[in-house]
């Protein structure tokens, strides 16, 4: 294993850097720009059973040190993802990919998971129970420990791939949800999804996003992610994937010190399409500067 490599639920990553779902499409827009095989892996666009157009526009608003999005899980549906997107991905990405799935009922999570379980290139299932931009699904499962556990159990029952449950920060006690997912069989957790927010247009005097509310991402989230990863990593024994506002190699180290085994990079990809590549290239030098030999040595060090 190299200096940067980490083990995520039994699969070795060359480095801990994972573009976050919804900021990297199905990979090939970025594959036109650089060899995406330099990544640890990436989490593809949140996939549901049926095709979803998502919310009306505007779906995007800027904030101090970040942005809101209310895309609303636009995706072509799992069948088309398997038939069209994964074959295209296979040509440009030769590592196991993280399949991000979402749903509006436990049965839907189960059905999408069962279909993606059969796909060889899928390494992990990342179960999104935390999207704030759709009604009647996603986040409502992630804000209640029993619902979170029920989704986790249902997905675990239909797949042998590692299941990583993606948690929302829009809760009073994220550790309670984390423990419920662990008890239900989750192999790992990723956190945090976006924070539910709003902006209002001074000209129209109405919310800027057509959806009203949207999820905050970008550097503004980093300290919240660090705090929550720190708390959750101490509350569970399963690996934690940290994300929220990461844009530099230093941020990666901070989340790993807090307890993250791997780190996702989200909004940064949208403003600098080369962000993940630059972070991976910068890591050895920043580690040298911080006196870090191997990344695995620092996971959770801040809490020890």
């Amino acid at each position: 294993m190299g200096r940067l490599s980490v083990d995520l639920c039994g699969i070795e990553l060359d480095n801990p850097i994972i573009p976050a779902s919804g900021t990297f499409g199905y990979g090939y827009e970025f594959a036109e720009l650089y060899d995406i095989n330099v990544l640890g892996t990436f989490s593809f666009k949140g996939t549901t059973l049926q095709p979803r157009y998502g919310n009306p526009t505007p779906r995007i608003a800027e904030t101090p040190s970040g942005m809101l999005n209310a895309v609303g899980l636009q995706n072509p549906g799992v069948e088309k993802v398997i038939a069209e997107e994964l074959p295209k991905l296979k040509r440009c990405f030769h590592k196991p990919v993280m399949a991000n799935i979402s749903g509006f009922s436990i049965e839907e999570y189960e059905a999408v998971s069962a279909l993606l379980d059969k796909e060889e290139q899928v390494g992990w299932l990342e179960v999104n129970i935390s999207c704030p931009n759709v009604h009647g699904g996603a986040m409502s499962f992630g804000t209640d420990p029993e619902s979170a556990a029920a989704v986790t159990r249902a997905v675990k029952a239909v797949t042998r791939k590692p299941v990583i449950v993606k948690l929302t920060p829009n809760v009073t006690d994220i550790c309670e949800i984390a423990r419920a997912c662990e008890a239900a069989g989750a192999d790992g957790l990723s956190l945090i999804n976006t924070l539910l927010c709003m902006r209002i247009d001074l000209k129209t005097k109405r919310p800027l996003l057509a959806n009203g509310t949207g999820g905050l991402s970008g550097p503004a989230l980093l300290p919240l992610a660090v705090r929550m990863v720190y708390q959750v990593a101490r509350a569970v024994r399963i690996p934690v994937v940290g994300l929220g506002g990461v844009s530099r190699a230093e941020d990666v180290l901070e989340l790993m010190l807090a307890g993250a085994t791997a780190v996702q990079v989200g909004a940064a990809n949208l403003v600098d399409p080369f962000a993940c590549k630059k972070i991976i290239e910068a890591l050895p030098e920043v580690m040298d500067r911080c006196g870090i030999d191997r990344l695995t040595d620092i996971i959770g060090q801040a809490a020890r």
Partner: protein
């Protein structure tokens, strides 16, 4: 297929007001990814998280010219920028206009700052021997820019102002009424595009704007529905063909 997007650091050679609240910025450097009129660039600004997508008004061997209107904090910041500084720019974004589709007498219909990308298009059409007439709509006389520039390379230039302070009183659709044409290209605010869609007598191409996250197809922030499926304005657009639009009443 256009050349791939490139991230480049471009130097500001010029940044001057040309009409009320409208500025022209000339950026110099490797602009090889900018290949087609109607494409845009996406500028990173200090202290602003998202880039600012601005359409290309003209291109030379080593420069792109952009025109922008000061409408918010980002464009206000741009207006303060001095020449000589460099900007982090994603170049060569979007599909651009299909210049080869023009046939016969062609209209270039621009509204407000939306007239900007039609200028490079007009130059390209002229090189292809296409006869083009510019129809440019503004709110009032002090908003008018590039009238002489369009006049120099178009067969005719018709100005419309909403308040009647110059040219035809009314909108571009009022100015179009008396014109004969076989094809058109248009760019402007969405209500204007919709009006042109319904008023136009020929086929044509529409360039859209939308609030964008990334500008290169990753975030799905600017998706719209078309006859041929969901399209990302930034990547599958910003130019859509009339036949793709879903504005039929």
């Amino acid at each position: 297929m256009n050349a791939r997007m490139k991230q480049r650091f471009l130097t500001i050679k010029e940044n001057e007001p040309i009409a009320r609240g409208v500025f022209r910025m000339v950026l110099q450097g490797d602009v090889s990814a900018v290949t087609t009129p109607g494409q845009f660039v996406n500028l990173a600004l200090d202290g602003r998280f998202l880039r600012r997508p601005i359409s290309v008004c003209d291109r030379s061997e080593d420069t792109v010219t952009i025109l922008y209107k000061v409408v918010g904090q980002g464009t206000a910041q741009m207006a303060e920028m001095r020449t000589g500084r460099t900007l982090d720019v994603l170049t060569g974004l979007g599909n651009g206009f299909d210049v080869s589709a023009a046939k016969g007498a062609t209209l270039l219909i621009g509204g407000g700052i939306g007239a900007a990308p039609l200028y490079w298009l007009a130059r390209s059409l002229r090189e292809n021997g296409v006869r083009a007439t510019a129809v440019l709509g503004f709110n009032t006389e002090s908003d008018i820019y590039y009238e002489s520039e369009f006049s120099a390379i178009c067969d005719g230039t018709v100005i419309a102002t909403a308040d009647g302070s110059r040219g035809v009183r009314g909108f571009v659709t009022d100015a179009m009424k008396d014109l004969q044409y076989d094809y058109f290209y248009t760019c402007g605010p969405e209500p204007m595009l919709k009006a042109v869609f319904h008023a136009s007598a020929s086929d044509g191409q529409f360039s859209f704007e939308e609030r964008m996250g990334c500008g290169f197809g990753a975030c799905m922030g600017c998706t719209c529905k078309t006859v041929s499926g969901w399209k990302r304005i930034c990547r599958d657009g910003p130019v859509l063909r009339k036949g793709e639009l879903t504005w039929e009443d």
